[in-house]
Symmetry: C2
Amino acid sequence: MLTIVSESAERALTSRLRLAVVRLNRRLRAQRTNSSVTLTQISALSCLHKCGPLTPGELAAKEGVQPPSMTRVIAALEELGYASRSPHPSDGRQAIVALTDDGRAYIEADISAREAWLDKRLAELDDEDRAVLARAADIIDRMAGNQN
Amino acid sequence: MLTIVSESAERALTSRLRLAVVRLNRRLRAQRTNSSVTLTQISALSCLHKCGPLTPGELAAKEGVQPPSMTRVIAALEELGYASRSPHPSDGRQAIVALTDDGRAYIEADISAREAWLDKRLAELDDEDRAVLARAADIIDRMAGNQN
DNA sequence: CACAATGGTTAGCATACCTCACTAATATGT
DNA sequence: ACATATTAGTGAGGTATGCTAACCATTGTG
């Protein structure tokens, strides 16, 4: 139960959380076998969907990766027809990356299918466990999102 | 499918949990830049430390990876002097992977240093958030299907 | 004793990060 | 105004981590 966290459990939290995240991440990546869109690309698409058009640099910062890594992701999304690159109106160095209609349709309609595995696992939990995970997702996002 | 227990936050749990895990995993991997031991290797070392000597196949099963993936991890750990491979006493096909003294010293004394980043983030949370993460780690581990 | 099953490794492929170095565009300082 | 510095993005190359398929070597069984 939630009320008391034992001393030993508390001490091992760092290790346990790390291992849990590493392993769940592994499982999630393994689930996308017959999809042409990778987990990283989905993550970037989600970001564009949530935030609207962004420059490559902004997108890299929000995803917490270096700009060169994002360049490749954007190129792949463009290739797939899910994102477009247009010139920045006032700064010739920058570019604007936006979802295409296809990209929007994909992220809105198709992601849930690719999340079927996780969705099924979540459905097997009780409401209380789901509530814990919902809170944990927020906490983790804050921790991972804070630079440094 | 998911039972909606609390409006919009709950509805997107699958997406949010996935993104949170992907991003925290990314951060954790990024923390080990000046270390020669990678996250995957640490995970395997932890497993050996907790379970004692294992065959490569057992280790792969516990970590939830395929045997060929574990072969590489074991080779790296052997190269580093943190694990040793010895022949199985009764079955010539199998091998026994065990921590060396160096490996034990490493896993016991040094891991916490490599977890400093996460440890610091966790220390910034309040007790309630930590409790949520502790429960979440257990739930996630169960979902990811880790046989202990 | 031939031969299938088992355990492990090798080879080759894909994804996803990184850093370093480069180009192009913009801002700055004398 | 023009040379120089800074900034944004990209390309090249490297590492880590997973996979499957194919391959030995050993084991155990008919």
